[in-house]
């Protein structure tokens, strides 16, 4: 899933400062799963904005609504009658949501309520970890099913570097060295020599380096 975290409330309050009517818009997709942008969080953020307004002596009319998904025009359409009545929309979907809203409702002020972090998953309750960098050409089968592009601090294809120490990355003792894990798995499987194979320079044309990306599936285009 796409993992996000809430923006500091002070940052959101600065965005909506002086506004009388604000719509907090949640999303039932990834951000609900990672407990940051669903209906529950939309309610909490709406309350925070109301309370902050009251402290300043302003009665802010804060609406709450949560869409099935904010990365699909079909669901974005659902709020077409209410968005124009608000001074601004705070979207707590990933970075896709506020952009789809901005495109569909060009007259509306749309603010991001979360910081979109990475593609990953929950490794324990309350702990999420990155797994994919979206490079556009998956190569994890060369590395025991683990991705050094996303998970090595230097994206090394022929690691590990000399900074790997006791299973940890040189940048922090809190960061696992993915190459240590790749090597150990290869050893466990008796395939350490597979890692002797030279991995050539990667083509980054399918990654963000190739420019903004777009995908067309002809058979689905109506």
């Amino acid at each position: 899933m796409i993992v996000a975290e809430a923006k500091p409330i002070s940052e959101i309050l600065t965005m909506v400062k002086g506004l009388k009517k604000v719509l907090v818009l949640g999303c039932k997709g990834c951000v609900t799963v990672c407990n940051v942008g669903g209906a529950k969080e939309a309610g909490i953020l709406a309350s925070s904005i109301r309370i902050a307004g009251r402290k300043e002596g302003i009665m802010v009319d804060v609406g709450e609504h949560t869409l099935e998904r904010q990365c699909d025009p079909e669901y974005i359409e659902e709020v077409k009658d209410i968005v124009p009545s608000y001074d601004a929309v705070v979207s707590i979907a990933c970075g896709v949501g506020p952009q789809f809203l901005s495109e569909r409702y060009p007259g509306a002020k749309v603010f991001p309520g979360v910081n979109t972090k990475f593609m990953g998953g929950a490794v324990a309750h309350g702990i999420w970890s990155e797994r994919c960098a979206g490079c556009g050409t998956c190569v994890i089968h060369y590395f025991g099913g683990m991705c050094p592009i996303a998970r090595c601090s230097k994206s090394l294809m022929n690691g590990p570097c000399g900074g790997s120490s006791h299973g940890k990355c040189e940048i922090s003792k809190d960061v696992d060295c993915i190459w240590d894990m790749i090597v150990r798995k290869a050893m466990d499987q008796g395939r350490l020599n597979d890692l002797l194979e030279f991995r050539p320079p990667k083509s980054w044309t399918t990654a963000r380096d190739g420019g903004p990306r777009r995908m067309i599936r002809e058979e689905l285009v109506k």
Binding site: S153, K154, S155, L156, M157, N158, G159, P160, C161, G162, G163, S164, S165, H166, G167, K168, C169, E170, I171, S172, C177, D180, V183, R184, M187, L192, N193, L195, L196, F198, R199, P200, P201, W204
Partner: protein, 316 residues
């Protein structure tokens, strides 16, 4: 001593190694400013005691005068620089362009490195590049030299004639991959290796045995890396804070066991003893002495280690 191997470049370092002499290299960190006198002064201190001088490339990710310009200053002094290049800061366009720039000044040696992550330095908020990794950099430079081709396949007019080196850290984890990774670097085209600083000689000897078992010492020249300790504090810092560094307790104890004013002397002694012990180790082709901001001590280490005078490459 190594058997004579074919010489492929005009590198003096390669010539000395190929003739079977124990080579000595050292390194200078460029200044955090534009005063070239600082780099020249450091080089002056060591030039008669080493065969080639590495110039570090924004080491520990702290911004400094660039390696290439510093190498050019050394070249203009008639010295033999080793251009260090990290893949952290350059994509393949910049890398190949800088390689050609170095070759245009007839710089003959290059060390291909990943580079410390930028988190350590003065620009921790910056982006990194890592378009290629150090292994791919080695292969790229060899291809530029031997096939006269850019990575993209186009022909290079007057290809760069660089003697290609790489680093190896016998002390990083996991130990099981370390010699294999050296084999991979040799296969990618590395011709000489400068190792991480050696304090744990037993572990280094174990690594060298594995190197010999694979015959790698006959494929790449291995220069043992040594850094003299200035103080017990430095020994502890290296032990506890520098990832991939192995400073055994007895080394820390030995440094702590002498009064503070005697510690620099003790550090030099340890370094010289290491030279003397490793000189005899089969497969060690020379030494890379990294006296960090202590370049003036390099001549003493080289002399006491029995590595002086240096051979005249022009007479080989």
């Amino acid at each position: 001593m190594n058997q004579t191997r074919a010489v492929k470049t005009d590198s003096k370092l390669e010539k000395i190694l190929a003739a079977g002499h124990l080579a000595v290299t050292s390194e200078c960190g460029p200044p955090r400013g534009s005063d070239s006198d600082l780099i020249k002064k450091k080089a002056e201190l060591i030039k008669n005691h080493v065969d080639a001088i590495n110039i570090t490339d924004n080491q520990t990710s702290v911004t400094r005068l660039c390696s290439l310009a510093s190498c050019i200053h050394l070249k203009l002094m008639g010295l033999e620089p080793v251009l260090q290049m990290v893949v952290r800061d350059r994509n393949r366009i910049a890398i190949q362009s800088d390689v050609l720039g170095a070759a245009s000044f007839d710089i003959r040696n290059m060390l291909c490195l990943s580079g410390d992550h930028q988190r350590f330095g003065d620009s921790s908020q910056g982006q990194n590049v890592f378009d290629l990794d150090s292994m791919q950099l080695i292969q790229t430079v060899r291809r530029m030299r031997d096939e006269g081709k850019f990575l993209g396949g186009d022909e290079i007019k007057r290809p760069p004639k660089l003697f290609v080196g790489a680093a190896a850290n016998p002390f990083a984890d996991p130990f099981e991959i370390r010699v294999r990774r050296l084999a991979k670097k040799a296969a990618a085209g590395a011709e000489f290796i400068q190792t991480q600083c050696i304090y744990n000689l037993d572990r280094f000897e174990e690594w060298m045995k594995q190197v010999r078992d694979r015959g790698l010492h006959e494929k790449v020249y291995i220069l043992a890396g040594l850094t003299p300790l200035k103080s017990a504090g430095m020994a502890k810092y290296m032990k506890n804070r520098v990832p991939g560094m192995d400073v055994p307790d007895d080394v820390v104890k030995r440094m702590s066991g002498v009064p503070k004013e005697k510690q620099p002397e003790e550090g030099i002694k340890i370094c010289v003893e290491s030279v003397q012990r490793l000189k005899e180790l089969e497969g060690v082709a020379g030494f890379h002495i990294m006296a960090i901001e202590w370049e003036e001590k390099v001549p003493e280490i080289v002399e006491m280690g029995g590595l002086y005078p240096r051979p005249n490459p022009d007479a080989i």
